[in-house]
Amino acid sequence: MNKLGLIIRREYLAKVRNKSFVIMTFLSPILMVGMVVLIAYLTKINDSETRIIAVLNESSFFTTDFNSNENNSYIVLRDLNLEKAKDTTSGLGYYGLLHIPNGNTVEAVANSAYFYSKEAPSNSVLDKLDAIFQDRLRQQKLMELGVSAEEFANIDNRFQINTETFKGQQNLKGINEIKAFIGGGFGYLIMMFIIIYGGFVMRSVIEEKTSRIIEVIISSVKPFQLMMGKIIGTSLAGLTQFAIWIVSATLLLFVVMSFLGIDATGLENTSVMPQGAMSNMAPMTPPTNEMQLYANELFQIPWAMLIFFFMIYFVLGYLIYSSIYAAIGAAVDNETDTQQFIFPIILPLMLAIYVGFFSVFSNPHGPIAVGFSLFPLTSPIVMLMRLPGGIGEGGVPVWQVLASIGLLLGTFIGIVWLAAKIYRIGILMYGKKPSYKELFKWLKY
């Protein structure tokens, strides 16, 4: 076996055999799922509480509007003045009191209505009350314009426009958000991986320095070989972790799908059905089948392409960042000294994530999205967020993909070269906390 292979093997085994790696691999998905379940559960508890709201209605309007539902139950108070009503409400421990004074018009009454409560009321309560008033006001206005109550009921039909691409593909409402979310997930995964595994590389370099084995090793191999072996070995360990996660997630997905009664084999067929059938099918799809449709759409996302590009961007992005991490590890003596150097690395990663979530989601092909998906330090994340929309027509232009990969490759070579120079000098330096100025000097040694 050649020396690089030996180093990769050692680094890989050292990582994979580590107890914390094993625990991380099996525990973190459980933690993740547990977290989601916990959050959902907590939200549910929070919302399931029924609030009792007292209503003191002195007007002739709004007599039929307050219907109790699962969240808010309304109790109508009668023959009390406002002060008494307030006392009663707080005495009974109700959530609040809605006071609707008397007036001549609906509008005047609505405008002088007040909600009293012990604490500032929650938004969900206010939204409900607002909606009640708004509906009523609108109805009133329309009636004044001569619209009957029956006609009003017909007006208030929710409407959603049907959309289709030029190629005739049926689009589902919200599918773009889902796609962006998937892209964002990939981007986020890359960021987390770079930060976690870059940190592993850095700590591994520091460990070799503090255990003083470094000089023994580089008297046998070139520092560059050691650095690359370390980076590759560590990333293979990370990929192993990913592979375990992906396989178990896929298994889980199929289990969940069979649980929900979605037929995965049927999906493949519907996606190749004639377009006419598709578009005819959509409007009359009963809501239970909407899930099937979404699942169908999800299967149409070019997963193979996404995973392929994920690998490319992941590998290049990771190599760039982890060689910087290796150089930092070489430059310092212990982990506490790394802070000043780590912040500038994390900065472009955070920037990429924020730009991705705020700009790419709303406009995946806008100038900011394009710029950041070309800039090498952010492209692995931002480009992946754009890619679920496809490549070529309607998606990311082919030249942008090629240009970003090209730029990434060039940067990779340059950064690795610089990092290797710092690494080579740094691993033999002890006892000094280097400054940026010093690192710059090392580049010239």
Partner: protein
Amino acid sequence: MRIEYLFKHKSLLDQFYIFDKIAFMNNILVADRITKQFGNHFALKNVSLEIPRNSIYGLLGPNGAGKTTLIRIINQITYQDSGTILFDGEPLKQHHISMIGYLPEERGLYKSMKVGEQTLYLAQLKGLEKAEAKKRLLFWFERLEIGDWWNKKIHELSKGMAQKIQFIVTVLHEPKLLIFDEPFSGFDPINANIIKEEILRLKEKGTSIIFSTHRMESVEEICEYIALLHNSEKILDGKLSDIKKAYKNNIFKVGMAIKNGEALLKQLSESFQIESSYYDLERAQLEFQIKLPSEDTRSFLTHLSSKGTINNFVETIPSANDIFIRTVQSKSIHE
């Protein structure tokens, strides 16, 4: 020797090989005017060395003299700015590192890796096949009586035990040249002695050895050749016995039994330089150091023995440390 020049001219190079064949035959390593600069600071200035085959060579000098830099250049960990190095008659190349064993001053092992796995890994990095490496490791483990350590982790071993492992790793690939940087630091006296014995045995088997240390007295007894480095320059090198001969200054230590010691001292001090003296009146014992004008001691001894009984008469040989101090002093006077 204008080595670079000769390398540029192939025909001259051939001649050079013939002419200097003897030098190549005798030297495992020849360094020619090595200079290394870090920023504005010179780590090595025109340092030339010839390290004879199958010898123990002491690279001596205080901390910061440039020893470690020179060793790192030989190990191709760093590279010289100018100057050339010949290893075993060839310009130093990457493949030579499998013929060099290096025990650095800053040394250690992976703390959480098992001894067997770790030593196998390091041996393979030096180019040994796995099976061969394992065979040799078991031999060495047996020899240094550490056979049952194979599955132990380094952090379970004491520092001295770890040093034994480190030594094995250094010599396992049977290098032609062994370089030890401050080899005995971290060893207790018993283990240091075991290692010293092993090093001498390796030398018997034909290995050339470089010792680098700032504690000159620690290697003086086993070095045949030395070079003194000071402030990035070589100030002295050669065969230790020759150097000592050159630096001895005919100072003799005398001990004798004599009744009237003070009178003798007074008389001697008129014609010789007395370095130090002590007279024990009660026991009538006189001890002094005297500098004689030549190596010829016969007439002086005859004179002395007529005065009393000579108990001892020894020439004082300067230690490497003395030589170093004197050379540095004389250099700074000249400058």
